[in-house]
């Protein structure tokens, strides 16, 4: 999912949920982080959004949560797009409040990592040597099995967090086989890649 499109969807959700958000949720107590983490896995949120809500090729990053609690619950009850509904039989309002607390606890991407300076030329070599191209394509344009990552939609910290503990079919790359600096170099290379042209500018895609 392109960054522009993701932002658009989030904006749409915020607008839509703002209307619904006037309804009070059934959550009576502040969310419990530990229960929330367990529920996050049990309900299946992690399957698409990643074990830490960092986002995957299936669904966007949701940690820290982009919505307030009330609109988030409203959205989960009546979602749009690929997001399946989470009926109250699956997770009560209180349990969703727990999940929300967990997502808030995950916190924003680390600032130290963002200070790493990447070398795009070395990153280009590592992109091939480490096999990133195998699923994401030689220019990171993505395929059915893996999303577009060039240029990246995630922050460097978000990319590191996901690469270390991925979900779906993405294999884990530990620090033993790919250092933070290696990943920063790859990230720097991915940042040099041009954004894709819009589909409506490609005549063959209008057939």
């Amino acid at each position: 999912m392109g960054l522009v499109k993701f932002v658009g969807i989030v904006c749409t959700l915020l607008t839509a949920c703002g209307r619904i958000g006037a309804q009070a949720s059934g959550a009576k107590a502040p969310g419990n982080v530990t229960s929330g983490k367990q529920m996050f896995l049990e309900v299946g949120c992690a399957a698409c959004h990643g074990a830490q809500g960092q986002g995957t090729d299936l669904a966007p990053q949701i940690a820290p949560p982009p919505l307030d609690l009330e609109p988030m619950i409203a959205y989960l009850r009546q979602p749009t797009g690929k997001m399946p509904p989470v009926p109250s039989g699956t997770a009560s309002d209180q349990q969703l409040a727990d999940i929300y607390a967990y997502l808030k606890s995950v916190g924003p991407p680390g600032s130290l990592i963002n200070q790493l300076k990447g070398n795009p030329e070395n990153g280009k070599k590592l992109f091939v040597a480490y096999g990133c191209y195998e699923c994401h394509g030689w220019q990171g344009a993505g395929a059915a099995i893996a999303p577009r990552i060039g240029p990246p939609a995630l922050s460097l910290a978000g990319l590191l967090r996901y690469v270390r503990a991925p979900t779906g079919q993405m294999p884990p790359y530990t620090a033993k086989v790919a250092s933070d600096q290696d990943l920063a170099d790859i990230y720097a290379y991915l940042k040099t890649l041009p954004p894709p042209q819009p589909a409506n500018k490609v005549p063959l895609l209008s057939q």
């Binding site: 195998e134 030689w138 033993k176 063959l204």
Partner: protein, 644 residues
């Protein structure tokens, strides 16, 4: 008249005899008897060859046969209306081969020369999915069958009828030498019995005739599958016995098994009363009628269709096609009707995890499941292609295509005016979601549009631009090119797509494409294939078959220079094992030296172009190749592509 022992060697077996020092075992009956009489046990063995009296003189070796059994076999097999016989020659069916091309006139069936038995069966697989009936494959009973076995397994898993005749030197007493023994088996079909529907080893021509007709009937009755019939060499080569009273039994095709009325009525009630029913398809449309019936059912219910694409089940641009929104559609369902699903479980569940699989339902609790499949009527135990067991609320053991007409009628009777209004609202929402999904596919195709190597989306759309106004047929699997054609093209007709290999056996793609193109030839269709490079390397000789028999087929190579699925698997293992991630290419890439597929095609007598790495060069090359194909010949363009 007496002949010398040297002269007594059967002339047709000269080469075999040269290879086998045991050629001297073939002796005139009188000599054999004499030799045996000197044996230590002091008893006389029966003669190896039947003595024949000619003009009153006994003990003359038979040199010619006027009416070999294989002529009768050809009469029988011709009655089954095979168009083609695909085979790599083998001496265990040499008599049958000769009878087909001379006695049978090499017409119906026409002999298609194949360079590998896997190609013969693969061609039969592709042909049947276009034509709706099997062609004949003759296989050398042991070594040839072992070559053929993977392709047979693919056809079995894909529920496709392929009719296989196995030559065998069944009667050990009349084997000519070492090779005959090595190429003989006590039970030739045993090695494929786990993945064929039926086989037989008839001991007489009369039994052969009955079994041949029975085999056809069994193969073509859903669930359709490969069958094998052994043709013993003495039955083929020796004269038809006098007074055998042989006849060719009449073939009566079995009507496909349809569901009983009660089950159909219950399914209709559930579907009509559901708020969010989903129709999930895989191999419903065996024929054009299946496609039409699927459209009618979906439109009556205004229900979304999720197509697993084992066949061309539902038009890709139909507003009710929600294949590209499958996850959310299934998640919202209160009823899922699985129609000839190969793997119902994975439609309503997902698997996650890196080292250990974790499963999770993708449906809401309480969602009702209906299954209609002929797979419930026939299943074997050893090979596990039957997939995970799925508990359903209504299991209907019947052929879905044959059941659809009665289900449609029952649904019509169940629908009230209130439900019609609700269905119309539902249909409008689905159509809007379909439009949204279609736009998302186009958005996803744009990244890397001008990249080199060429993106598989660009490859697909450059091809589509030049075939969309033709009567086209895509006969290759789309899985390894991110399914772009299925996501972007307008598939509407039964022959627009034929699904994949069934058993995920690499090596299916090239021969199945040629077989499908062979079936399309008489219909004048423009057959196109996006061919995986590693798949072609299994048995590239099928290109020669296409050129030799002038089978028009446009092949665009998806040359990603690797057994890429496995490359990714090794990468996953290297990552999981946490000990280096730079060696995954060892054993799985095809880069040093690079394979020149254009030259490979040219060496087989085909038009070949490429390798093409600049997307700007692709359209002119496709145009040139289509001109070749329209003249009736195959053509190949080597395209350097992105991995997926």
């Amino acid at each position: 008249m007496r002949k010398s022992q040297r002269d007594s060697v059967n002339r047709r077996d000269f080469l075999r005899a040269a290879a086998a020092s045991t050629a001297g075992l073939v002796v005139p009956p009188s000599a054999a008897v004499a030799a045996s009489a000197k044996g230590s046990r002091g008893w006389a063995a029966p003669p190896l060859l039947k003595p024949v009296v000619t003009d009153g003189e006994p003990n003359v070796e038979i040199l010619t046969v006027d009416h070999p059994g294989s002529d009768f076999m050809v009469d029988v097999l011709k009655s089954l209306d095979f168009e083609y016989l695909c085979a790599n020659p083998g001496n265990s069916f040499r008599s049958l081969h000769e009878s087909f091309i001379n006695y049978g006139g090499n017409r119906a069936p026409e002999f298609i020369t194949c360079c590998h038995e896997e190609s013969s069966v693969g061609m039969g697989h592709g042909y049947a999915k276009i034509e709706g009936k099997p062609l004949l494959v003759c296989v050398h009973g042991t070594v040839g069958l072992q070559h053929a076995s993977m392709a047979i397994y693919d056809a079995f898993c894909d529920r496709v009828p392929v009719y296989i005749v196995l030559g065998n030197f069944s009667d050990a007493a009349v084997r000519f030498g070492q090779v005959d023994w090595t190429h003989s088996a006590q039970d030739p079909a045993a090695m494929i019995r786990d993945y064929t529907k039926w086989d037989d080893n008839p001991a007489s021509l009369g039994a052969f005739a009955e079994s041949a007709v029975r085999a056809y009937k069994i193969a073509t009755t859903p669930p359709t599958m490969p069958v094998a019939l052994v043709a013993g060499h003495t039955l083929q080569e020796h004269p038809v016995p006098g007074g055998a009273g042989l006849s060719v039994p009449k073939l009566s095709i079995t009507s496909p098994p349809a569901a009983d009325d009660g089950a159909v009525a219950e399914a209709a009630r559930i579907l009509v009363r559901a708020e969010n029913p989903v129709l999930a398809t895989d191999r419903v449309a065996r024929t054009p009628a299946g496609l039409s019936a699927m459209i009618e059912l979906a439109e009556l219910l205004q229900a979304p269709v999720i197509d697993r694409n084992g066949r061309m089940n539902f038009p890709t641009r139909h507003p009710l096609n929600m294949t590209e929104h499958a996850a959310s559609t299934i998640a919202a369902a209160d009823v899922v009707a699985g129609l000839e699903l190969t793997d119902f479980w994975s439609v309503v569940n997902s698997v996650h995890g890196q080292v250990y699989p974790e499963t999770q339902p993708t449906i809401k609790p309480g969602t009702r499941l209906i299954s209609i499949t002929a797979n419930d009527l026939f299943m074997k135990s050893n090979y596990q292609d039957f997939q995970r067991y799925t508990p359903v609320d209504l299991a209907i053991a019947a052929d879905a295509e044959a059941t659809l007409p009665s289900l449609v009628e029952r649904v019509k009777r169940e629908i009230t005016d209130d439900r019609k209004r609700a269905f119309a609202d539902r249909g409008a929402k689905i159509a809007a979601a379909h439009r949204q999904a279609s736009e998302a596919q186009r958005d996803a195709a744009a990244p890397g549009w001008d990249a080199s190597p060429i993106s598989t989306a660009r490859l697909s759309m450059e091809l589509w631009a030049q075939i969309k106004n033709e009567d086209w047929s895509l006969v290759s699997n789309c899985q390894f090119i991110s399914r772009w054609p299925l996501r972007l093209w307008d598939f509407r007709k039964h022959y627009h797509y034929i699904g994949a290999e069934g058993g995920y056996g690499v090596g299916y793609g090239a021969p199945a494409s040629v077989g499908a193109a062979l079936a399309n030839r008489k219909h004048g269709r423009l057959t196109v294939s996006i061919q995986n490079d590693g798949d072609l390397m299994f048995a590239p000789g099928v290109l020669w078959t296409a050129a030799h028999h002038r089978i028009p087929l446009l092949i665009l190579m998806h040359n990603n220079r690797a057994y890429h699925q496995e490359l990714m698997q090794i990468q996953i293992m290297a990552s999981q094992h946490n000990r280096g991630i730079t060696n995954a290419g060892i054993g799985s890439v095809l880069v040093d030296p690079p394979i020149d597929y254009a030259k490979l095609a040219e060496s087989m007598g085909m038009h070949g172009e490429g390798p093409i790495g600049d997307p700007q060069d692709l359209a002119p090359a496709i145009r040139r190749a289509i001109e070749v194909v329209k003249r009736g010949d195959p053509a190949l363009i080597d395209v350097l592509t992105q991995p997926r």
